[in-house]
Structures are given as structure tokens and as C-alpha cells.
Symmetry: C2
Subunit: 265 residues, 2 copies
DNA sequence: CCTGGTCCCTCCCCCCGTGGGAGAGTCCAG
DNA sequence: CTGGACTCTCCCACGGGGGGAGGGACCAGG
């Protein structure tokens, strides 16, 4: 039984792994040979190691990292399932990210790299009814939705101009805000909302047509345009939502991007 | 104009790249600074390099390799589109592979790692009407389909037993074949098909239930079982398709896997 | 003019998993 | 006993960076 040992080459052929891989897994302690000749360093594997080796080959085929494989080989069925589930979730996220990347590439093919039209404009002062929230970068959609609800509820009794506004800090990861313009000075806003005075002034603006998910592409173009001209962004960036996402096809959603600038020439 | 140069740090902040990245891109010749101070080695970038730098940042965000980005920056619009399209196709393939991996992981969670039941059996001799084809590994499905058509057409006038067979070389990448069993010795097979005698004998068999795409999982389990017992596969492996993929849900498709073995104990 | 803080330089090592190759030693069948 | 196939260790490479050491450069304030 224990005399029936395989050399690394024979074992590699059986398990469809390369000799290099087996040596690497030995180094990591992932699959140490059953016996190592002390004099020559030759590695000898047992038949009962075939199953583990083939499991490694299988999982590596799905790009499961060796560290996860190590946890699985060392654990019982419960651990294995947990690790597999975790790998599945990682895979889901990667797939989602790659689908977004695919869509973005599609748009880049359609309109070229950072070629959107950008204009210099002078924005008027605005009085806004604001609801803001702090959120992680991937929850922006949900946080925005909640703010929209609050702000439209608060504005229901007031006189307000239709386009909805969103404000974002330039470096992200701070506070996002949703606002509507209000005509008259308002005395008692609903709790959670407040009235803010948005100063006007010089700004770079661009019109993004397409899903909100791809807004960042137009932002990138606007910032390229701004920095090329040695203009300096000032404070937070904001967006004007010209269409209603509930009634407009995402591909046709128009959003006006506004990047406020310092006045100096 | 040319006096308005930015230090690497300032340029990095503008373009949302790290200083390390910019130095790396310089080394690769991807984005050499407009001026490098000969005495100090300090890198200075021009405003007109912001666009390229931001394009790099954007594309790296989609995991486009730097070599592809280099081709795009050096090329005109046509080249850019071609490279973008190529990246899209690479992305599609990766997504498809990852979805297959996800499905496979799902199956592994359901039934454990390489835990299928395997049995030792003695297969009878068989006389088969065979159609074979050479094909790349990813076209196996299509090649099999064509063979199935040919073989069923050829067998239409004959007396044949229902289960369809598929044969594959162990190391793949050779010839695949589709066959049906025929009862009587047949004289004149349709061109492109021939009658073969499949020797019987010892074999390891397992029943795979699920889509053909995941057959390799059960194969892996069978080979693990075989090699653990120091049995030696002999010649090509074959499969018996017990259900009709046109009328059965893929999740329920039963396939009997047969791995012929050398007789010795 | 000096000084200190912040910038920037190069160089090296690290990640992950694997392939390639050099140079030397080992195994086994003829 | 010999030759070819096998195996060993050690180093380098990939891609796309991050981290940090050690040392020079820049610039504003005193």
C-alpha cells in the first residue's frame, strides 16, 4: 500500500497538473507529498492524494485562489460549502463589474474616448430645498432614491421648479444630496431637509445622454476638458436630471452635469 | 504655454492616478512626461497630457491591459474602435467562462467535491454505427450535433437500439465520435459513417445528471476514483445519452459515463 | 540666507500563480 | 555501465501595481 508511491511526473500526468504546480503546492503546504526522500529531495505521492490534487485542478480551473482551496482541503463539508459560496459571490460581483465595463466600452466605441462636448457657462444663483445623506460609494443609487422621496415629499406643498438636482463631492465618499429649486424663501422645511443657497458663477457643463450608471464617463470628459484649460473646480459637482427615470428609457435619459469653477482666468 | 508644467504629484491628483502609476507608464513609454529635468530626474507633465492620462485611468478601470491602451493612444479613431471591440470580445468570453464557473460551483455546493458514486462494471461488446469528426475543444457541441444528424440519418433504415453514444479520446483534442448500436452486421453504411466493433471489458462507470456542460465534473470524479485504486484507463472514454436533450430539461439530463480499464488487478 | 516640511528621485521587495530555463544530481532499462 | 529520461534547486519573467528605504530638490517663512 504505502509502497505504491508515484513520482512527481507520473502523479502530475494522472491529475492533469504540471510538475511546477505540484512543487508550488508543496511549498505552500497545500499538498505535501506523502514522502520526500531525504537524500535526493525526490517527491513521492500516494494514490490517496489524487482526489485532493484533482480537486485543486478543478477549482483552479474556476480561478479559485489557492488560499481558498487550502481552506477547503483542510475543512469539513460545512467549511467547504461556505468557501464555495463565498467564491460564488466574488464571481457574481466580478461578472457584474465586467458587464458594466462592457456597456461602458460599448459607449466608448459609439462616441470615442472622452470626446463629449463641454461648454463654459455662467450658472445663476439658486435657492434649493436639500436632503443629504452619507453613503458608501456602491449605495449611491439607493441613498439618492431615499433623498428624492424625502425632498419631493417636503416640496409637495411648495412652489418648486421641476428639474431635480443631485450634488456630489468631487472626491466622492462624502455626502450626497438631492435638491429641488424653491421659488420663495421657505420657513419650515420638513425635518431631514433644509433650504440652502447655491451660489452661481462660472462652471463647465455637459449633457450626458444615457443611463446614470455611465455618468462617470461624461464626468471624466468634463474634467479632462477643465484641466486641459487650467481651470480649477470649486467645491461640489452637481447634476440636473432633465428626464424622469421612471418614464424614460435609460438609454435616452438626459442629465446636465455642472462643474463649478473658480472665477480667475 | 509650455511654461505651465505640472509636477508628477499635481498631475497625479488631476488625473486620479497614483504617482507610482505615472512613473510606470513613463517607463513603458506609454505616457512620457513632456519634460524631464536632466539634472534631478524630476518629471513635468503638460496640460495637454491630461486627456491621455484620464483615458488610461478610465480604461484601466475596465481592466484593459496597458498594451492595448498603448495601441489605442498611438492610433487613430479606427484603431481605437478596433481595440475597444477586441477588448469587448475578450470581456464577453471571460463573462461566459465565469458564468460556467458559477454554475459549476453551484453544483459542487449541491453535491460536494468529487463525491459522485462510481461503480466497476463489465461492459458487453458492442457493434456501433459511427460518425466521427475532428474539432477544436470549444466546438465539441456543434461537431457532436452534426455527427448525431449523420448517424441517425444513416441508421434510419436499420434496426438500432435507442441510446446514443459519444466517444472521446482521454486527452481530448483528437477525434470525437457519435454512434448508435446496430443489431445486425450492416453492409453498406452511408458515406461518412462506418461500422465499428467496440470491445467490452472492465470499466468504471458513473451516472451524471445535469447539463452536458458539466459532464467534466463527473469525469473528474470518475478519474479520481480510478486513479485512487491504481486502475489504468484504456483507450477512449465514452458516454451513453439516456435522455433526449430536445425534450428533457438540462438539469435532469442523465448521461452514463464509461471509462474502459485494463483488465489486470 | 537658512531651515523645515513636503515633494521627488531611484532601487528593491512584495503580491498571485505559473512558465521557462540553467546546472547538477538520480533513476532505471538495455 | 551507460545513456536518456527524470528530478532537484535556484533564478527570472509576466502584469500592474503597493510599500518603504535612503537620499536629493523645491519652496515658503523667518
Amino acid at each position: 500500500m504505502s509502497t505504491d508511491l508515484l513520482s512527481i511526473g507520473a502523479f502530475a500526468r494522472l491529475c492533469r497538473l504540471s510538475v511546477k504546480q505540484l512543487r508550488h503546492y508543496d511549498e505552500l503546504g497545500l499538498l505535501p507529498p506523502k514522502r520526500v526522500d531525504a537524500a535526493t529531495g525526490y517527491r513521492y505521492y500516494g494514490r490517496d492524494q489524487v482526489r485532493d490534487a484533482m480537486a485543486i485542478a478543478l477549482l483552479r480551473g474556476f480561478d479559485v485562489p489557492l488560499s481558498s482551496i487550502a481552506r477547503m482541503l483542510g475543512g469539513d463539508r460545512g467549511v467547504q460549502d461556505a468557501v464555495l459560496r463565498a467564491e460564488q459571490r466574488r464571481l457574481e460581483e466580478r461578472i457584474a463589474a465586467q458587464r458594466r465595463a462592457w456597456q461602458a466600452l460599448e459607449r466608448l466605441v459609439a462616441e470615442g474616448l472622452l470626446h463629449q462636448e463641454v461648454a463654459l457657462s455662467r450658472e445663476p444663483e439658486r435657492r434649493l430645498l436639500v436632503c443629504s445623506a452619507e453613503c458608501a460609494p456602491e449605495e449611491i443609487g439607493a441613498a439618492m432614491g431615499r433623498c428624492v422621496e424625502q425632498v419631493t415629499a417636503a416640496a409637495a406643498g411648495l412652489e418648486w421648479s421641476p428639474p431635480l438636482w443631485g450634488r456630489f463631492p468631487v472626491d466622492l465618499r462624502e455626502r450626497v444630496a438631492v435638491a429641488v429649486g424653491v421659488a420663495a424663501p421657505t420657513a419650515a422645511p420638513v425635518p431631514g431637509t433644509r433650504v440652502e443657497h447655491l451660489p452661481g458663477g462660472l462652471a463647465a457643463t455637459a449633457l450626458h445622454t444615457g443611463p446614470y450608471e455611465q455618468l462617470f464617463l461624461t464626468y471624466q470628459a468634463v474634467f479632462a476638458w477643465v484641466h486641459e484649460r487650467a481651470l480649477r473646480p470649486r467645491g461640489s459637482v452637481y447634476e440636473e436630471y432633465l428626464d424622469d427615470p421612471r418614464t424614460t428609457d435609460p438609454a435616452g435619459l438626459r442629465t446636465r452635469i455642472v462643474v463649478p469653477l473658480h472665477e480667475e482666468e
